[in-house]
Amino acid sequence: MITGEKMHEQAYAEAIVREIEGLEKAKITIIIGELQNIDVDALRQYIEFYLKQKNNIEYRVEKTLIKCNKCNNVFGLEKTVIGEEEKELIHFIPEAIHSFIRCPQCGSRDIDVIRGRGIRILVE
């Protein structure tokens, strides 16, 4: 059971704003891992609410790539079956995915997330 209104996004927005404050002239790209399942519109609204300056901010969602350490299969989220409740848990801690998926080819749980997690700010 999850209660609250996109407050997870709010926490990230506050941290992002603190990092980019004073960088008015920079081009900012916020790269969001697909596994974070962040509501990009909510994040954008929180950032616009907190940020005093006007920046050119681009939001980019990075697709997930997962590698199986047993059979070397590389696959994306579309090859997996994850329930809605599990998706919510992964939204908070992307590494929780290890508890809920197996390699679609060999069934192993020994996997590595190659990309598609975390949030990064690219400043140019």
Binding site: A15, N69, F92, G118
Partner: protein, 245 residues
């Protein structure tokens, strides 16, 4: 050419989330099975008995165990968001609690090196502890990425190093102390658990006696609280509250 820079906002978020926590006590050891989880839970209770506010974080990513001692089913802990995720309030103990097991439903999800650091960053970046006097952090055995990352992220960590009287455990502790001192971490305590009267090293600051109740499959916190073992935990809590480093 313009210079590019990549910033991880989770680091700032961790600074914000832990900003109002006065003292942080990671419970660590190089060896497993020395009693870190038991100590983490009981010390949290003993600190709380003194009227200070206490948080307990289970950061043993591959094998969280505090919920077993506390008798809590992590699947039944609701996730409440309030500028991040609010820790779960254990009402009987009045302790704020967070564990990785809430997010994994305590299913096996063995993480390799860097993913352990990533999970640590995520958990610390989203858990909003608010005002807190003490945060006790249970960790997994060894100095994996999560423990190294944690010690690096915290401004003034006060590790509690748990060991046993066994020679192997003592040698591990010497190595760990050597590492910590080299990193400038000096506010630590060394706690020997399962002590049966053996001679002790100079660096030992607290001794916890062997406790038969802890050998039982399902021991009760209420029973443990009446044992000599727990009285020593209370002394440790007292020294943390009033002692000098």
């Amino acid at each position: 050419m313009k210079e590019k820079k990549i910033i991880d906002p989770r680091i700032k978020s961790i600074e914000i989330m832990l900003g109002k926590v006065k003292r942080i006590l990671p419970v660590i050891s190089l060896k497993g099975g020395v009693g870190k989880t038991t100590l983490s839970v009981l010390l949290s209770i003993a600190l709380r008995e003194n009227g200070v506010s206490v948080g307990l974080l289970d950061l043993d990513l591959n094998n969280p165990g505090t919920h077993h001692i506390l008798g809590i089913n992590p699947k039944k802990i609701g996730i409440t968001e309030e500028k991040g995720v609010k820790p779960y309030k254990i009402s009987e103990l009045n302790i704020n609690y967070a564990t990785i097991a809430v997010y994994t439903h305590d299913k096996p999800g063995m993480l390799r090196g860097l993913e352990r650091l990533e999970a640590t960053l995520e958990l610390l970046a989203i858990t909003n502890w608010g005002q807190l006097d003490y945060l006790v952090i249970d960790t997994g055995p060894g100095m994996g990425d999560e423990v190294l990352g944690l010690l690096k992220l915290l401004k003034e960590p006060e590790p509690l190093i748990v060991t046993t009287p066994s020679l192997l455990s003592q040698k591990s502790t010497e190595k760990l102390l050597d590492f910590l001192l080299n990193e400038g971490i000096t506010m630590y305590k060394v706690i020997v658990n399962m002590h049966k009267g053996e001679p002790l090293d100079d660096f030992v600051t607290h001794v916890l006696p062997y406790e038969i109740e802890l050998e039982k499959q399902q021991y009760s916190i209420d029973i443990i609280r009446r044992t000599p073992f727990y009285r020593e935990i209370q002394k440790l809590a007292f020294s943390l509250l009033h002692g000098k480093h």
